[in-house]
Amino acid sequence: MTEIRWHSRAGQGAVTGAKSLGDIVATTGKEVQAFALYGSAKRGAALRAYNRIDDKPIINHAKFMRPDYVLVIDPALAYTDDITLNDKESTKYIVTTHLSKEELIAGIPALQGKEDRVYVVDCVQISLDEIGRSIPNAPMLGAFVKISGMFELDYFLENMKRVLKKFPQKIIDGNMRAITRAYNEVK
């Protein structure tokens, strides 16, 4: 079982990101679960979204999890939300930030000592450049594909095109570029 927790603000697309990831993972024959925990359901409010991925049907319906991956798609939430909650010694963190990894960790005591499992990527800037709006979910998926090694990038891009098929071609192309850039830039 692989468990993923997304930290986001309502409107940044974590729920869509979690569901898209679930959708794509399912095409590989795995079983998936994607859900979210909303606070006050307002744009900008902090929320958490979750994925479970396994080879057999997922029957644990609890919200509680000890995540294998924590994906932070809002830069400020890395500081204000409890992103290391219920973590494990192997939990990997991918954080959206314009800072270097060292600068980020220096400001977040909870990440200190976990340097080898923290990865940074500027999903906000990438989505602004490539999609024209700050929707950091798609680039975060690119970074996750790289760090988890769960898919080949090309396989993921092909399937993401299917998930996005109702959008105009311009948006699809922007998402493809954003995912690819984040895949290459995460470090």
Binding site: K19, G22, E31, Q33, F35, I58, I59, H61, A62, F64
Partner: protein
């Protein structure tokens, strides 16, 4: 027939609401009268879009309240159409008066209930307060533990309720958010398979048959009311056979097996949990892990059909265990939990009379983790070893603050 063909994959990633709405589309519901409410809104919203886009040849009736929604469903069903809707919580509460009318008039309406807490305090998340509120309403109540089951059971609901020897309305329950808003792998039937399974709607005493006028909702006082209600209760009890047949046929079609009572690892179980909804599956994880890591012979028993209550099957499933924890996800309002009472009554008629204790949990969407359920199992193991209930008979699981419990076992 619908103008448009809906594209479906063999494997979809759907949440419970979407799954239920697809079943409504595939059953080609003629009339849906609805007043949307969280968390069931997408079921009726999606059906509305299927009508608007030509995927269903049906009518979406907008109304001013849930009372009106169920009233319009009663009218449409009596007129002779296949009818369904969805609701939750306060909406369900507002429907209650008309729920009794629907079952008393023997109208096979399908109601998707996305379980949610009842106010006050206002809360949109899942518990079983609304489901329990419907338990004496004369409806058949099927309980889904995940999105796949919300889809499967919705299809079965039409077949069961519309059977001419049943002719009763059917609720299909799923847990608010935990099922309704959680996407998971769902394996739908093709439109042809699903529709052929449900079959054409064959009305009985339809009011639009002007050659044979009939009355619905007549008044009966002490002369006939009792006989009508007894007959209605008998129809509900007798529906058990039809439910079994429909489940057997669904298994042939889909490979997915449903039973009126589901048992997990009960062959040699010493202790058991009885629960409803998603908690059933989470409890199965807890049982499996306890068997592997702590050597506790744990099992899980769960009503798939809450009404008619499977009194005999519950008894058969549990009579050989030593201790049972019954989980009620509804505020008991000054009594023991309803499921506890019903399970206890069934077990009182066994020679062994296992120890039964009650857990109130998960109100207003409070999380119920694998560890919480392991604790319930461990309590049962302690009870089994001691030969008596070692805790208060009613406890609260997952409650913050000081422990709350009521009643002790009488011991000489």
């Amino acid at each position: 027939m619908p103008k448009e063909k809906f594209e479906l994959n063999e494997r979809e990633v759907w949440d419970g609401n979407y799954a239920a709405s697809q079943a409504m589309r595939q059953a080609q519901v003629d009339v849906m009268a609805a007043y949307p409410i969280t968390p069931s809104t997408p079921i009726v919203e999606n059906y509305g879009s299927y009508v608007a886009n030509g995927y269903v040849d049906g009518e979406f009736v907008m109304v001013e309240s849930e009372h009106a929604a169920m009233s319009a469903c009663v009218g449409a069903s009596a007129a002779g159409g296949r009818v369904a809707t969805a609701t939750s919580s306060q909406g369900f509460a507002l429907m209650v008066e008309v729920l009794y009318q629907a079952s008393g008039m023997r109208l096979p309406i399908v109601l998707n209930v996305v379980n949610r807490a009842l106010a006050s305090p206002l809360n949109v998340r899942g518990d079983h307060s609304d489901m329990y509120l419907g338990r004496d309403s004369g409806w058949i109540q099927l309980d889904a533990y995940n999105a796949q089951e919300a889809y499967d059971l919705a299809l079965c609901a039409f077949r069961i309720g519309e059977n001419h020897s049943v002719r009763l309305p059917v609720m299909v329950h799923q847990d608010g958010f935990v099922t309704s808003h959680t996407a998971q792998n769902v394996y739908p039937l093709s439109d042809e398979e699903a529709y052929n399974f449900v079959g054409d709607f064959k009305p009985v005493d339809d009011m639009l048959d002007f050659s044979r006028p009939v009355t619905y909702g007549a008044q009966t006082e002490e002369d006939w009311h009792f006989e009508h209600k007894a007959k209605q209760h008998k129809a509900l009890m007798d529906s058990r056979k039809v439910i079994d047949e429909v489940f057997a046929e669904f298994k042939k079609l889909s490979g997915r097996e449903y039973k009126r009572v589901e048992s997990y690892m009960m062959e040699d179980a010493e202790v058991a949990i009885v629960a409803l909804g998603t908690t059933v599956e989470t409890a199965r994880v807890a049982a499996m892990e306890l068997r592997e890591k702590e050597g506790i012979k744990a099992g899980v028993v769960s009503p798939r059909v809450f009404r008619p209550f499977p009194f005999d099957l519950i008894r058969d499933a549990l009579e050989n265990v030593k201790a049972v924890g019954v989980m009620d996800r509804s505020s008991p309002g000054g009594a023991m939990g309803a499921l506890f009472n019903e399970v206890s009554a069934a077990l009182y008629t066994t020679p062994n009379r296992p120890l039964v204790s009650n857990y109130i949990y998960g109100l207003g969407g409070r999380d119920c983790s694998v560890e919480d359920l392991k604790e319930v199992f461990r309590d049962q193991k302690a009870n089994a070893d001691a030969g008596h209930i070692t805790t208060p008979i009613q406890q609260f699981s997952g409650l913050r603050g000081p422990k709350l419990g009521f009643f002790e076992t009488k011991r000489s």
